[in-house]
Amino acid sequence: MNNQTMQTFGGVRGFLARMGSIDRRWIFLAVALSIGVPILLQLRPPEVPGPMARATFEAIEAIPSGSRVLLSFDYDPASEGELQPMANALVHHCASRGHKLVFMALWPLGKQLADTTIKDVLLEFHPGYVYGTDYAQLGFKTGNEGVIKIMTTAIPQQYPSDAAGTPLASLPLVASIKRLEDFKLIGTISAGYPGAKEWVQYADGANPDAFTLVAGSTGVQVSQLLPYYPKQIEGLLVAVKGAAEYEMLVTSKYPVDHDQSRFEEGRRRMGPQLVAHLLVIALIVLGNISMIAGRGLKGGAR
């Protein structure tokens, strides 16, 4: 190797080694572009429904039409971007099957998110739903897993009235419910504690096989839920990808005649996610190349 080649080689190595200490604002800019550009270009990669999304869909299809379903909104606005698309699709799916829906929340701000979903999805696409007869909002109760534990045996004790203060006894849909066994299916949209794990441990654990349990989860907590799938949790939607796959299944069987974009939110978010994931992989590769190049330079100095 002549002197010039060695200098060029060293120059490339030096450049790669210096990449390791690149100003992080360049990385922030790359992330902003990787998310912003696909949003502007409306990039929507094709999705194929996976087994978990199919299991969730089948679980809701399997219960008789008009069954009583409990939906617990166990998240807050911080996770709305990740979980709201699946909440929308879940409510639309249940309502399309004619199920009677009872909403509740284990998180203080979950009640507001349930209210928004009722307004934007349930009443928008299923205007025939009547409060008290077809759906009810129990609201938030403090107590975390304690709320679930009492509901396994005495729902009227935990919720003597709905969120607006109306006694449950005067709402036909919930007047006769005594315990969680009175529901055919329980769905939880969960961002952490208390959430899906507590529903498995305290509700399903106390009443195995009494009802079907399905869950929607953020990506970061799914590893805690996987041990319970598919025995205790019969359907599991994981993060935006799970929502996108589930949306596809729901809208292909139960299409809507207006504002279709409401049920494309998950798929719309998969474009930015794809590019951002590729960027993270590229950054990791670049970081490792930089590390190896840096080692080479140190070796040469010795």
Binding site: R24, D76, G81, D115, A164, H277, G287
Partner: protein
């Protein structure tokens, strides 16, 4: 003496009762009463939390310690939200009782409480969460290095999950027939193998370990062997 004996007795009785209530239907209602106490205590914890928030931030403001302006902002926001909620400022009148202010709903965006939730709290929390994407990318670049075998395994797993969690997985390996002997090279196949077998097996072991630990600790508390939760005074 009583300061320590009474809490130990309450804990022992409550713990034992909850265990019995789980197995005996005759004592179910007793267990419900104990869980009701727990729920009441959990609600009281919010009041204690609010008191603690006030104490910590007031002390910070009065001592003019670093970041005292943020503490002041916290106190003002806390006071404002408390007033909006308690006094139902701007509440939408209830159709059945239009003349009773406190019968109105404070959760719609027409009320101060609902407006702050919808237009301040909700976007702020979503923004804070979204910022994670930037820090995760930066941290992955700086810290995710293949320095040893364990790190290489972690790196390989991360690549598979990152690719399989998007359409890139199907694009790269979707052409391999699912029924062929090379199906294990498909990224979706590898993702299922990692999450449903390797990860689930690990998590089950951890979960069982935690459950045994909780059972052992609970027994120590119920039997009065572990008294570390009590004040030393």
């Amino acid at each position: 003496m009583l300061q320590r004996t009474i809490p130990i007795l309450i804990l022992a009785a409550s713990g034992a009762l909850l265990i019995i209530a789980y197995f005996s239907p005759f004592t179910t209602s007793w267990g419900e009463v104990v869980v009701d106490w727990f729920n009441v205590l959990a609600a009281v914890a919010y009041v204690l939390g609010a008191g603690n928030l006030l104490a910590v931030n007031l002390e910070k403001v009065s001592a003019r310690r670093a970041g005292w302006a943020y503490a002041l902002l916290t106190l003002l926001s806390f006071g404002a939200m408390l007033a909006f909620g308690l006094f139902k400022i701007g509440a939408v009148p209830n159709a059945d009782n239009p003349n009773v202010h406190f019968a109105g709903s404070y959760e719609s965006t027409q009320s101060a409480f609902g407006w702050v939730y919808e237009y301040i709290l909700s976007p702020l929390t979503a923004t804070m969460f979204a910022l994670l994407a930037f820090y995760v990318a930066s941290a992955a670049f700086r810290a995710f290095r293949a320095k040893n075998l364990e790190a290489i395994l972690l790196l390989g797993t991360a690549f598979i999950i990152l690719l399989a969690q998007t359409a890139a997985g199907m694009f790269l390996t979707g052409w391999i027939p699912e029924a062929s002997m090379f199906a294990f090279l498909r990224l979706d196949w590898m993702k299922v193998a990692i999450t449903e077998h390797i990860q689930t097996a690990g998590m089950r072991a951890i979960t069982i370990g935690i459950a045994l630990g909780i059972a052992a600790t609970s027994l120590r508390l119920i039997l009065g062997i572990d008294k570390s939760y009590l004040s030393k005074n």
